[in-house]
Symmetry: C2
């Protein structure tokens, strides 16, 4: 597996927008809906408020984008949220940011994939292809269970693909991303024209809903919190600056501006059109409803749905790429197992990728494939990361106070204030709806990071060589060779023992005196130089008598390093391996905690 | 785990009847029913034929019992079917007998446990405690699914109990066995008295069934085959002669006679009473119907049902005890993995016990808890074993021709003819009903035994020391010590390397030149006597460069034994183990098939 820099090797702005921008841009597919779902509690009339919420979020987005443009210029080596927070705010804020990111990756997978699956189920609803009927023969809407099933399949595919390793992602990612972008531009453009000419009508008239609660500030804030997930993924480019073609920072900043502009325009456009038609999300997503109204039920509509699905799956995939990148940085700093620093350690990353996929799948099942409920969890992590990052940048300017620091501190500071305020709004409004899970998980992650870090600190301290003390040059050793018979394999093990040791004891754990006598005779004939000890074991136990013997050796000669030498067969066929006493495993377990015992297997090749 | 002889240490005849006799005696609980189920195809009038079938089987049983009495006297060391067949008939017949026994053990578990579960569901039916009602409020019979569930629970308990190891079985086994024996004696006694006085009436009048097929010889033979499972378990005592108190053979023979008599009387008694009342098996077993008729619905009836369940569970358990006994004999002869000779090898027996439980559970599910269908499979294995054993004994007398051999050969020969004839009848009548499974499985088992045997023969041949050739005294060796840093742990590994080898190369697989330079400096300071080689690995791979190096060593110095020495941490807490590069596993896998490479871990104790 190559490092991230090698995979995404030096991207053009066009490709980089696809690789790093898909997460953010695709958020426009579900954010409007997330806000409307909450507003409809106040009836159809309140849906229009979502447009004003969208304007507020777009302003917030532009501030955050400006803030990240500065990060991109300041940290051309890649200004990840974790690095910026840790460097400027300290260890604990850095780890909180890292925990928020880890949780974000999980939710990016869950939310994006479910939204992608809904692009398909919406298209099925529209096409009428879904063959469900009630007892009276009336067509039923697409089952929500289908969304869950499709989502789980997508997550499974992403997990498998990432386990095998992805290469050349730039080009593959570009197709659905640009298809979605062009589709969105066309849809919003045509939609606006139709709207101004008065020819924009919903394909299926949405239901008129009556209010069940008044349109309070609390409701608006809740809708704002939900809609704010539109901004998820905005930070991605700041992590990936070194992947851009030179001049890296400049290209990254330009791409960031394009990305934020597209996201803002899409989000505002969809919110506007949804408001014009007073659309209500149901079995069909809001953007599917708009697409049918604008394009009609034709090839353009279905292509757009497939592109939506495509960009959302790619957005889900970014989490799988981000996870190893953050892990290796955390591992380098000693907050995650060292194995994660080596991209080559398949086991570590396999574990991580499978865990990511499994937790995302569990969330999809737990929330029954409902994006709007998953979003309650998502927004907290997203804004926690924004808040840490922009606060970190603010502190950075305050500390360095270089040229033009006042303007810079104003931009990052404003972003910090706005995102922190949003974080508080989101945390308060979403707390009871599942947000508490995130608020519990962040400290758990941080505690795990700190525990790991403490262990590595302790190890480093214990391994330090004291300079004024000469290191030990040799070790007092003693070799034990347990044998079952004297044969070619055990003689080879004895030959090895003679080579590595001058003190050798051959041991026969005997269950039968007759057999022991035979072994004794053979030893006298073939290895008269070696000392044979017969230990009787009437209960046929093997490990315990050997442990007792080693203990006795250590009592007589403390600090002696005991090497247990065992002959081992390399069998010709794999299944034959199970036909031999697997005593090595038992011994290894028995002496696992023993600092002065080791086990050496002397292989003997069986050719048939 | 102690050997069987130690567990069942020297049993009195009373206890031995419980330990070895439960399997046979408990067969009377389901054998009558197995025959009647087939006869009812010819209507209620045909049920009476079952009594004449029972007489035929009882005669067969007495012949087989006489035959085994001779085996007991001839093989006081335990005349298992496998040993007798192998010794007198040769390898292949011995292995066929062994395969038949292995299959029998599985079916003993399945059949006995389901019959035990049916003792419970029958009692539930009688008590009316089962709370199932149809839509009209009528009580429904006990669901067959309940039998399956209870059976699976019983199998689960037996598996777990046997995994933990059973001790002191004699006493525990005696209680339900003797309770069942006394209950049976009482039930048959009272039943006969009531029958002769004309006061025996079924508690619920059985349905009058009309014939769906004529009472042909074929139908009678099929019923005979089914009823013949009454004899299963008759051979058990002949395996266990050494467990009896002295004089072993005499005591065993007496116990065998008592056991066969009890079984014969019970089987005939039940068949007679069932015929008198023209009972038909249904949701309630035949013996439950007889017990209700004789005792009434009272404490005697329920106690008898519990005793029936108890003896059947104990009968199922005997298979779990027989399995390790047969396995160790087969392993001693090289037909099963050597691990099975050591009762101490938990892993081998754990695998065996779990497999036994799992296959039995699968059969219960597959046959939906229907004893009468499982019996189609059971009878073939039982009579295959009888046939091999008595034929083996016949050949034994023919070969030895000692005093009184003519009488002896007549007894065993007659048993051989009768059981072989029965085997043919059973195989033919049961073939289509599942018997073919057994006829396919026996050769598969035999093939596996032979394959294992061939491997051990090959190994023995390859390990043989040629007497005129002096064994190798020492080995040319070379030590490699891959290090990641120079610290206390790697210095300790170097000290160990110096002790065991005179040719040592310290290797640093480097991903970074700066770090490599630091390591070089440290090596010059702390271990200037050792040669350091830096191998650059830009892809961060570790195992591959090391494999290449070992290959290069072997090219220059063929036949050199390469010892790879790795420092290893013993962590203070178990989870910390996962925080260290687990390169050892990767290396072990990489060099697994290499006869001239071994891996030595030099442990380093972390105290915190």
């Amino acid at each position: 597996m190559l490092t991230a820099e090698e995979v995404y090797q030096r991207l053009t702005k066009v490709k980089a927008l696809a690789v790093f921008g898909s997460d953010a841009i695709s958020s426009s597919a579900y954010a409007t809906e997330a806000a409307i779902v909450i507003l409809i509690a106040s009836g159809s009339a309140a849906i229009g408020v979502s447009f004003y919420i969208a304007i507020a979020i777009a302003i917030l987005l532009s501030m955050v984008a400006f803030s990240y443009r500065q990060t991109v210029h300041t940290y051309p080596q890649g200004g990840g949220t974790y690095s910026v927070s840790r460097e400027n705010l300290g260890q604990l804020p850095g780890l909180i940011a890292a925990a928020a990111l880890m949780i974000d990756y999980i939710l990016t997978v869950a939310v994006s994939i479910v939204a992608g699956a809904m692009a398909i189920t919406s298209a099925l609803s529209v096409s009428g292809l879904n063959p469900r009927f009630d007892a009276m023969g009336n067509a039923l809407p697409v089952s929500p269970g289908l969304t869950v099933v499709i989502s789980l399949i997508f997550i499974g595919i992403l997990t498998v693909v990432n386990l095998r390793g992805i290469r050349e992602s730039g080009t593959i990612f570009s197709l659905p991303t640009y298809l979605f972008i062009f589709g969105m531009v066309a849809m919003i453009g045509i939609g606006l024209v139709k709207s101004f000419t008065g020819t924009l009508h919903p394909a299926t008239p949405p239901p008129i809903l009556s209010a069940t609660e008044p349109l309070t500030l609390w409701l608006v804030l809740r809708a704002f919190s939900a809609g704010s997930v539109a901004m998820s993924g905005t930070e991605a480019i700041s992590n990936g600056v070194p992947s851009f073609k030179p001049p890296e920072s400049k290209n990254a900043a330009t791409t960031l501006t394009v990305m934020a502009t597209l996201l803002g325009v899409f989000f505002l456009g969809i919110s506007y059109l949804a408001r014009q038609m007073a659309l209500v999300p149901g079995n069909e997503t809001i953007i599917s409803q708009i697409a049918v109204s604008v394009f009609g039920k034709n090839i353009f509509y279905y292509t757009f749905q497939i592109a939506t699905m495509g960009i959302l799956i790619i957005a889900g995939n970014t989490a799988f790429a981000d996870f190893p990148r953050l892990s290796s940085v955390l591992a380098r700093d000693g907050y995650m197992p060292h194995q994660f620093t080596y991209r080559g350690d398949r086991l570590a990353f396999t574990t991580g990728i499978v865990a990511l996929g499994a937790i995302a799948a569990a969330l999809v099942l737990l929330f029954k494939g409902n994006v709007n409920n998953l979003i309650h969890l998502y927004a907290i992590g997203v804004f926690l990361a924004f808040s840490m990052s922009s606060t970190g940048m603010t502190v950075h300017w305050w500390r360095t106070r270089g040229k033009g620091w006042k303007v810079r501190i104003f931009i990052n500071g404003l972003a910090a204030i706005l995102t922190t305020s949003t974080l508080i709004i989101v945390a308060v409004t979403k707390f009871a709806l599942g947000g508490w899970i995130i608020i519990v998980m962040v400290p758990c992650f941080v505690a795990a990071f700190l525990l790991i870090h403490r262990h590595y600190d302790n190890v480093a301290e214990q391994l330090r060589i004291s300079p004024d003390q000469l290191p030990q040059q040799t070790i007092k050793e003693f070799a034990i060779l347990p044998i079952d018979d004297v044969n070619a394999a055990s003689l080879r093990a004895m030959a090895f023992a003679r080579t590595i040791s001058s003190e050798i004891v051959v041991i026969n754990i005997s269950i039968d005196a007759e057999r022991a006598a035979k072994i004794k005779a053979k030893m006298e004939r073939y290895a008269p130089d070696l000392k044979l000890i017969v230990i009787e074991s009437p209960t046929r136990a093997f490990v315990q008598p050997l442990m007792n013997y080693v203990e006795a050796v250590h009592e007589q000669m403390p600090n002696t390093f005991v090497t247990i030498i065992l002959p081992e067969f390399i069998t010709a066929n794999w299944w034959e391996r199970y036909l031999h006493n697997r005593t090595a495993e038992g011994l290894r377990r028995a002496f696992e905690k023993h600092a002065n015992v080791t086990l050496v297997m002397v292989p003997y090749l069986l050719t048939k």
